[in-house]
C-alpha cells in the first residue's frame, strides 16, 4: 500500500459497540493488538468510534479518497487483525478483475516488431 514509496492508507476508523456481543472480538482486538498495529505504522491515523447498538466495522480511508468498509461482527481478534492488516496492505483501488498481470508504459525497448522489420 505504498505507491512509489508514498503510503496510500491514511486513516483507519474502528467502530464498535461496548454492549453488543458481536463486538466482543473487536473489543479484545482493541485491547490486545491495536497498540501494536499503531506502533508498527506511525504514518497511519487510527480513530476509535463508539456506535452503540450497531455491528462493528473497520473503515479504511485511502489517499485517493476511497473508503473500504469491512464488517467484523462476531470475529475473533486474530481475524480482525488479519482484516486490518489487509486494509493496510492494499491500495485504494477498486477491486476489479485484472486485465493483465504486467503493467508497463514502455512495451518495447528494441522496437516493436512488424512484418517489415528485417534482422
Amino acid at each position: 500500500m505504498a505507491l512509489r514509496g508514498a503510503w496510500q492508507f491514511q486513516k483507519l476508523v474502528v467502530s464498535y459497540c461496548n454492549w453488543g456481543g458481536s463486538s466482543r472480538g473487536i473489543r479484545a482486538f482493541m485491547e490486545s493488538e491495536l497498540p501494536a498495529l499503531i506502533e508498527k505504522n506511525p504514518q497511519l491515523e487510527v480513530a476509535t468510534e463508539l456506535s452503540r447498538g450497531q455491528h462493528p466495522y473497520l473503515k479504511g480511508i485511502y489517499r485517493n479518497r476511497n473508503e473500504r468498509v469491512v464488517c467484523v461482527k462476531n470475529m475473533d481478534p486474530e481475524q480482525v487483525l488479519l482484516n486490518a492488516t489487509r486494509l493496510r496492505n492494499s491500495l485504494g483501488r477498486k477491486v476489479v478483475k485484472l486485465r493483465t498481470r504486467h503493467v508497463t508504459k514502455h512495451p518495447s525497448v528494441q522496437g516493436t516488431w512488424t512484418t517489415a522489420v528485417k534482422f
Partner: protein, 247 residues
C-alpha cells in the same frame, strides 16, 4: 491379513511421525504406556495410540511450524539463513531470493534514496518481460512487507537497444531490483460446477492473494547513456509557425 496390513500401516505411520517429531513422541510415550489395552504385542500399543493422536500431532506441529517462521522473521540475519533454508526445503521452492529475510529494508521511505529512476531503455525477462518502472502482479510473496526491496535473481534474458544477453537457462550475475507495493486480494471469482441431469451443482467463491511489485533497477547489462536533448529556445519555435502561416 487385515490385521497384518493394519500393523504395517500403523508402523509406517509411526515411523513417519517419529521422523518428524521425535522429541514430542518420546515425551508422550511414558504417558501412553499406562493405557492398558487388550492387545498382547508390545509394538501395537504405542502405534495405536500414536495413530489416534497423529492428527493432533500434525496439527500442533503445523502450528509450531508457523510460529517458527514468525520467529525467524523477527530474529536476526545469521540465524535466519539456517532456519529459512530448512523451511524453504520443506515448503515450496522460492523463485526469487528476498534481499534480506529477517530484517526488512524500509528503503524508499528515506527521501535521500531515489529508487524510482526515470525510464531506462533496458529490459529483463524474469517470468515477465520487465523494464524500469513497470508493475507486476504475482502470487502473494511471503517474507516481505510493504515498501521492501526485493532482488530477483533468476533472470532469463537481458536486453537493451544495442545488446541482448541470453541466459542458459539463467544469467548468473544479473539481478532485478523491485519494491513491494501492495499485497491485495484479487476480485472474487465464482467457480460454478454443474453436471447435467445428475443433480450436481456447486458454487464456490475464490479470491486470490496477489502482490504488486514495482521494478526499479536492472543490473547486469550496460545501459546506454541518456542523450541530453537541447531544447531550442522557445522564441524560435513560436516564430516559425507564424512565418509559415504568413508565407
Amino acid at each position: 491379513m487385515a490385521s497384518l496390513r493394519c500393523l504395517r500401516e500403523l508402523s509406517r505411520r509411526a515411523t513417519t511421525a517419529l521422523s518428524i517429531n521425535q522429541t514430542r513422541l518420546i515425551s508422550s510415550l511414558p504417558s501412553l504406556e499406562p493405557r492398558g489395552t487388550s492387545i498382547t504385542h508390545a509394538t501395537p500399543t504405542p502405534n495405536r495410540s500414536l495413530s489416534r493422536d497423529l492428527p493432533w500431532y500434525t496439527r500442533s506441529q503445523g502450528r509450531h511450524f508457523s510460529s517458527k517462521t514468525n520467529d525467524t522473521d523477527e530474529s536476526s540475519d545469521g540465524e535466519d539463513d539456517d532456519n529459512d533454508e530448512d523451511s524453504a526445503e520443506m515448503e515450496v521452492e522460492r523463485e526469487y531470493s528476498p534481499a534480506e529475510i529477517g530484517y526488512k529494508v524500509m528503503g524508499p521511505l528515506k527521501p535521500s534514496e531515489r529508487l524510482f529512476k526515470p525510464y531506462e531503455p533496458v529490459f529483463a525477462v524474469v517470468q515477465f518481460k520487465v523494464s524500469n518502472g513497470d508493475s507486476i502482479f504475482t502470487e502473494k510473496l511471503k517474507f516481505c512487507d510493504i515498501n521492501d526491496k526485493l532482488v530477483l535473481t533468476k533472470v532469463l534474458l537481458l536486453g537493451s537497444a544495442s545488446q541482448t544477453i541470453i541466459g542458459r537457462p539463467i544469467l548468473p550475475e544479473a539481478t532485478v531490483h523491485a519494491v513491494v507495493e501492495e499485497h491485495a486480494l484479487d476480485e472474487k471469482v465464482l467457480i460454478f460446477k454443474k453436471k447435467r441431469r445428475k443433480n450436481y451443482r456447486r458454487t464456490t467463491g475464490h479470491r486470490q492473494e496477489l502482490t504488486k511489485l514495482r521494478i526499479t533497477d536492472i543490473q547486469g547489462i550496460e545501459k546506454p547513456e541518456p542523450k541530453i536533448v537541447h531544447k531550442p529556445p522557445k522564441a524560435a519555435d513560436t516564430e516559425q509557425p507564424e512565418a509559415e502561416l504568413v508565407g
